[in-house]
């Protein structure tokens, strides 16, 4: 059996750190994700998961360290440029445009990908197609004209995902996407996530261990800003340190 060719990682961080006053929220994290992978990031509350992905997508600036995306150093690149390179982030606390319609929410994302998006009228072909496509993938096509603020919470989470998808990202960061969803919705989400992973690399922050175990190719466990363990779901499940810190208490 010939060895697999060496894949260069899509995303890499080297000694990435972030301080808030005296608190070190992310502590010299070395991290890498291969293209096409679904990587779950888990850890107790306050472990630095959201801070870490915020550093990756550019919402926060690092105190030190480097971030490399597809071979290029993006550490100094502003957030909006990273999005255009292909990194999409769905917010942990739902952040849709409540006053705009579901359609308009996604349209903003599609508009971005259609070059400059200067004089795109909503009735023009490409914008409408792009939006409809994204909405159908998450199952919200029927609610396109509703104001986003009127959607049920679970649907707002899906709208977030739709907006991310519409950006046609190469790296999709999902921050606690199933929070607030009911049983059936979570199942639908797992199927959706697998579809997303077919075209993009996925970073998934999750507390729901069932979802993590179903979806993840590999799991990174964070604690107090550091990587505690990293490996396949089985390896992590068997890891004693992880069990003590996180899994043992029941997620």
């Amino acid at each position: 059996m010939s060895p697999l060719p060496e894949m260069s990682p899509l995303l890499e961080t080297r000694a990435l750190s972030r301080d808030f006053g005296g608190l070190r929220a992310v502590d010299r994290v070395d991290f890498s994700v291969d293209p096409g992978e679904i990587r779950a990031i888990i850890g107790p509350n306050g472990a630095g998961k959201t801070t870490f992905v915020s550093l990756v997508c550019g919402r926060l600036a690092p105190s030190s360290g480097t971030i490399i995306f597809d071979g290029a150093d993006i550490t100094a690149l502003p957030a909006h440029r990273r999005v255009r390179l292909g990194i999409a982030y769905t917010f942990q606390i739902t952040s849709v445009y409540a006053q705009l319609s579901v359609f308009d929410n996604v349209a903003l994302a599609v508009q971005r990908t259609l070059a400059d998006g200067r004089s795109q009228d909503p009735s023009r072909g490409r914008l409408r197609t792009g939006v409809t496509e994204a909405l159908e993938r998450v199952g919200l096509a029927g609610r396109a004209s509703l104001p986003a603020g009127q959607l049920a919470y679970g649907h707002q989470r899906l709208l977030e995902v739709a907006m991310g998808l519409a950006l046609k990202p190469r790296l999709m960061i999902l921050d606690e996407p199933t929070q607030g969803l009911g049983g059936g919705e979570i199942e639908n989400f797992v199927a959706l996530a697998r579809e997303i992973a077919a075209n993009a690399t996925v970073l998934l922050i999750e507390h729901n261990m069932d979802v993590v175990m179903q979806l993840a190719d590999r799991i990174t466990v964070l604690e107090a800003g550091r990587v505690l363990a990293e490996g396949t779901p089985d390896a992590i499940r068997a890891n004693e340190a992880v069990q003590r810190a996180y899994l043992g208490g029941g997620a």
Partner: protein
């Protein structure tokens, strides 16, 4: 494109009414309306920053003044003709908006309000300080000969009430349709998105700083156009137009008419201008009305006239 055609028709109808008024209004109101049309243009420029951009600026008088003095001073001291002076005014407005924007847009909310107020005060004080050049508090009067335009069709005499009204209406029309096109465009949508949720918009790949800056430059240029028109059409360039009062008035007009609506500024300006005009017939303390209306608006009527209409009945109003 049915929705679009309907909107353009609606705005066209408003222009048609305003045009008809040129022939129907008695002399006093005719003159008043000409001023109102120019000031409503000023208000539309402000609406872009405040209504659609969501930024409370208390400094837009400086852009109006940039146009007013840009045109006035270049006519008076550089001997410019009207068209060149108008272009000079636009350049002044755009440049000032660019400089102010690069600095002020690093702040938001209350800080932005104070920074714009401070810059505007600085412009006002500078006009007074350099009074040898600007005429200071007394200002400059432009002579009738300076307010004529030679065109292929003959001399356009801007001191003539009829011509004045039509030129004011022409300016208003151009800016109105510019605004309509802008707010319905991709750029307009992004501007509203930045207003609603800046971080979200950034995370969708938009450079929010540049978007806001571009909007401010357009806003400043439109306000400068209004300032230039006011000086050229009515012949007086004075420092009071750079005072904080002329930053508060467009806020009042836009709030009353309906922020983030295309036709709101017109209605707000017409209504308030008449209210102040009538009040000033009774007392010298007519600005009291401005104070009362502002408080009533903020307590009971935040969306203003057309804003309320849009919310309750006509959801498609831009």
């Amino acid at each position: 494109m049915k929705a679009g055609a309907r909107l353009y028709a609606l705005h066209g109808a408003v222009i048609a009414v305003l045009l008809a008024l040129n022939f129907l209004l008695p002399a006093y109101h005719h003159g008043l309306m000409a001023r109102i049309l120019v000031l409503a243009t000023f208000a539309m420029g402000y609406n872009l920053t405040f209504g659609y951009g969501g930024l409370l600026s208390l400094g837009h008088a400086m852009f109006f003044a940039a146009g007013l003095y840009g045109a006035g001073l270049s006519i008076q001291h550089l001997g410019f003709g009207v068209p060149e002076a108008f272009l000079a005014a636009l350049a002044c407005g755009a440049l000032l908006a660019l400089v102010v924007g690069v600095l002020a847009l690093r702040t938001t909310g209350v800080a932005f309000m104070i920074v714009t107020l401070m810059f505007s005060q600085a412009v006002h004080l500078a006009i007074i300080y350099f009074s040898a050049f600007t005429g200071g508090d007394q200002g400059l009067m432009l002579r009738p000969q300076q307010r004529r335009v030679e065109t292929v069709l003959g001399t356009l005499n801007l001191t003539d009430p009829n011509t004045r009204y039509l030129v004011a209406l022409a300016l208003f029309t151009v800016v109105l349709f510019l605004m309509l096109a802008l707010v319905r465009s991709g750029f307009g949508r992004v501007l509203v998105a930045i207003r609603e949720n800046e971080e979200r918009t950034r995370m969708l790949g938009y450079d929010t700083f540049s978007g806001r800056l571009a909007a401010l430059v357009v806003s400043g240029t439109v306000c400068a156009a209004a300032g230039a028109a006011y000086g050229i059409l009515f012949g007086y360039v004075g420092a009071n137009f750079a005072s904080v009062q002329y930053s508060i008035l467009p806020l009042l007009w836009v709030l009353l008419g309906g922020a983030a609506t295309t036709l709101g500024p017109l209605f707000g300006t017409v209504f308030m201008y008449y209210v102040v005009d009538i009040a000033s017939g009774y007392t010298s303390a007519y600005m009291l009305v401005v104070g009362v209306v502002l408080i009533l608006l903020v307590l009971f009527f935040r969306k203003g006239l057309l804003g309320t209409v849009r919310e309750r009945w006509l959801r498609w109003l831009p």
